[in-house]
């Protein structure tokens, strides 16, 4: 589904991604872990099409198409979804109205008819249950005055509505208490399917207790320095990142 080859990206003059290689197949869940400042969020943002970053090298193939060539909205229509680490507050635009616009734009891109009000509401009701989100929250301005947990649940709710092929969750666990974390994780798990893939970007192993990944990758200084099965996450939880840093320094990278 997704093949990242030697991806390099800068912000301004500073190189953040120094050659990322990663292959994600349909049905898989990949966790990307690493210490702060290693480039995890940059990778998520570059995949979603944030223009603050300059891609200086490498390529990203998504279902046979050049992802880097697409505008952010085209990537969304092609099936990429980024759950934001810090969901943006948008005064004056309700979640409902926002999502309806987004869904119908995506459907237009795919040559499908727009959903009418009834179809949309029915779908919304169904997906609301998934993340235990309240109707009243959705009629309010998007994320405005939402608590941290409400914002993250709203991200997962939007993901459930848009049913992306590839979901990228950027530190979705940060700032969540255990109940909110469980709700978010259940939402993500409910969407797991053989046709879909997920990339979880996280600093802590905690989320992985609830969403069990197929692979764990450690990102450090802009490169994936270690990959392994889910057990790698436990090792990281136990020993921290220092041993990986040491390994990397030793190898003289």
């Amino acid at each position: 589904m997704l093949t990242i080859s030697d991806l390099q990206a800068n912000i301004g003059e500073k190189q953040i991604l120094k050659g990322i290689n990663l292959t994600v197949k349909a049905g898989e869940v990949h966790a990307i872990m690493g210490p702060n400042g290693s480039g995890k969020s940059t990778l998520a943002s570059v995949l979603a099409g944030r223009e603050d970053y300059d891609v200086t090298g490498g390529s990203v193939d998504f279902e046979g198409k050049d992802l880097l060539d697409m505008a952010a909205e085209v990537r969304a229509a092609e099936g990429i979804f980024l759950a934001f680490q810090y969901p943006v507050e948008i005064p004056g635009v309700s979640t409902t109205n926002f999502l309806k616009t987004a869904m119908n734009e995506i459907r237009k891109y795919r040559g499908q008819d727009s959903l009418d009000a009834v179809q949309f509401l029915r779908l919304m009701k169904e997906k609301m249950k998934l993340v235990n989100i309240d109707q009243s929250l959705l009629s309010r301005a998007l994320n405005e005055g939402f608590s941290g947990g409400e914002k993250k649940r709203n991200e997962i709710f939007q993901m459930a509505m848009l049913e992306p092929k590839l979901a990228i969750l950027d530190e979705t666990d940060s700032g969540l208490d255990i109940d909110a974390l469980r709700i978010v994780a259940e939402g993500v798990n409910a969407l797991r399917s053989p046709e879909r893939a997920t990339i979880l970007v996280t600093h802590y192993q905690r989320l992985l207790d609830y969403i069990v990944p197929d692979y764990v990758h450690v990102l450090y200084k802009g490169r994936i320095v270690k990959s392994g099965p889910k057990e790698l996450a436990f090792e990281l939880e136990e020993k921290g990142y220092d041993w990986i840093k040491a390994e990397v320094e030793e190898a003289g990278v």
């Binding site: 223009e51 969304a76 948008i90 004056g92 635009v93 616009t101 987004a102 891109y109 939007q158």
Partner: protein, 444 residues
């Protein structure tokens, strides 16, 4: 190069035309020239002659240059052939109420409809009120809007013949809104119109009033409007001003309000289009426990210029004022916001809030903001803030990452920004109509 004195510069031409127009109107008046009211007009004309049109050297006109405005040969009393059919496309759907049409400044009874009973409200063309309501006119005309320091108010006062007189008796609630539609027919000539309105709202009375300005045609037009509003104690007034003129139109409008104890004045000023617009909204809170709300929205594009000057004068203790103006500026447009708040020494326990927020979408657009707070009492709560910036890039990316194309995301964000003020309009058909016009103008 010869150095001859310049004669008949266009600036003096328009002035001369106005002075000649004044003399001509006097000649048609017979005995009325001796009336006290006409003495006010004469004094105002004299003031105008002394002051002349303001230049950018005048602090109040620093960012609004009227040179090109007064540089044109407007017809002062241009008849119009406009018919109900011409106005049909301008109708606001589902709008009921009193609808009065003024074309090139003159009341058109044939196009208007007054539905409220006279026991609820007296609505008269200003000209008729001069004789039929002479006492009320004498008591308030030019007493609210002082012309001593203001050339345009002086000019309007000198030419105060047409406009509307509205009086709501004590204790009455006017159930239907009063919509004043000032149409400038500039389809074949350059036109000048100077509507003069006097609104007297009695004790514990309530009314909703809309002033709407619309210019038709491509010729230049000049509107210089003055509205005086007297809000007696316990009265409640909703006042909306909507401007949808052309790039060739020049609009200077002053609304001067005086509030007494426990009264409420609630206003929104929406400027959709206009080549040059200057709004003065001046409110004197001459009573305790008054409330004044001022909302404003302006969305200039092209080379349009919109200048909002507001003044809240807290003259007595325990009153509240709140102001929110928002602007979206595109292309080469310019905007000005100048918000003054006076808190007089007596006006303890004043609460006064002011905010002006702007989105500037083009590097060629300019917004000038100037909050001016003069506080002479010590136990007050006042705040002000102005922001001018670009559209929120984070919000744009967020929307795009959900599949909303960039242009549409921008439009949605801008509309949401404007909606903050639009929702303050409490007459539903008007709000819905304006939302449509705003959405259309903001669509990229």
């Amino acid at each position: 190069m010869t150095n001859q004195p310049q004669e008949n510069s266009p600036v003096s031409t328009f002035r001369d035309r106005l002075l000649a127009g004044f003399r001509a109107s006097e000649e048609r008046m017979n005995g009325e020239t001796k009336s006290p009211l006409h003495q006010v007009r004469r004094a105002a004309l004299q003031t105008f002659e002394t002051l002349g049109f303001p230049t950018v050297k005048h602090e109040e006109w620093k960012y609004s240059n009227v040179t090109s405005l007064i540089n044109k040969a407007y017809e002062l009393e241009q008849p119009s052939s406009i018919t109900a059919d011409d106005l049909a496309p301008l109708q606001i759907p589902n709008l009921s109420g009193n609808i009065l049409y003024f074309v090139n400044g003159q009341y058109r009874a044939d196009l208007s409809r007054i539905v409220s009973p006279t026991s609820e409200v007296q609505i008269l063309p200003f000209r008729e009120a001069l004789t039929e309501q002479s006492e009320a006119v004498g008591a308030y005309f030019s007493r609210i809007a002082d012309f001593q320091d203001n050339a345009f108010t002086a000019l309007n006062t000198a030419f105060a013949f047409d406009g509307v007189f509205i009086r709501v008796p004590d204790g009455k609630t006017v159930t239907e809104p009063i919509i004043l539609r000032f149409i400038t027919d500039a389809r074949s000539n350059s036109v000048a119109a100077q509507p003069r309105n006097l609104i007297i709202v009695g004790r514990n009375a309530e009314v909703k009033i809309v002033e709407s300005y619309r210019t038709l045609g491509d010729e230049a037009s000049f509107t210089n409007a003055v509205t005086e509003v007297v809000v007696a104690r316990d009265a409640r007034v909703e006042y909306y001003k909507v401007q949808n003129d052309t790039d060739q139109s020049y609009h200077i409008g002053t609304t001067q309000v005086r509030q007494s104890d426990n009264s409420l004045f609630y206003s929104a000023t929406v400027t959709l289009n206009g080549g040059f617009v200057r709004n003065n909204l001046n409110i004197v809170l001459d009573g305790e426990h008054c409330e004044a709300h001022m909302y404003g929205l302006y969305i200039p594009n092209g080379k349009q210029h919109v200048d909002n000057h507001t003044l809240v004068d807290h003259a007595k203790p325990n009153s509240y004022s709140n102001e929110l103006y928002k602007g979206i500026l595109e292309e080469r447009s310019t905007g000005v916001f100048n918000g003054k708040i006076y808190v007089r020494p007596d006006a303890q326990k004043t609460n006064a809030y002011q905010s002006c927020k702007n989105v500037v979408l083009s590097p060629d657009a300019t917004m000038n903001t100037k909050p001016q707070l003069e506080i002479y009492a010590d136990d007050v709560k006042c705040s002000h803030g102005t922001t001018t910036g670009k559209l929120n890039e984070e919000a744009l990316f967020y929307m795009r990452s959900r599949g909303i194309p960039q242009e549409q995301a921008k439009t949605l964000l801008m509309f949401a920004f404007a909606e903050d003020v639009m929702t303050k309009i409490k007459i539903d058909p008007i709000r819905e109509y304006l939302e449509g016009v705003v959405a259309q103008k903001l669509a990229m």
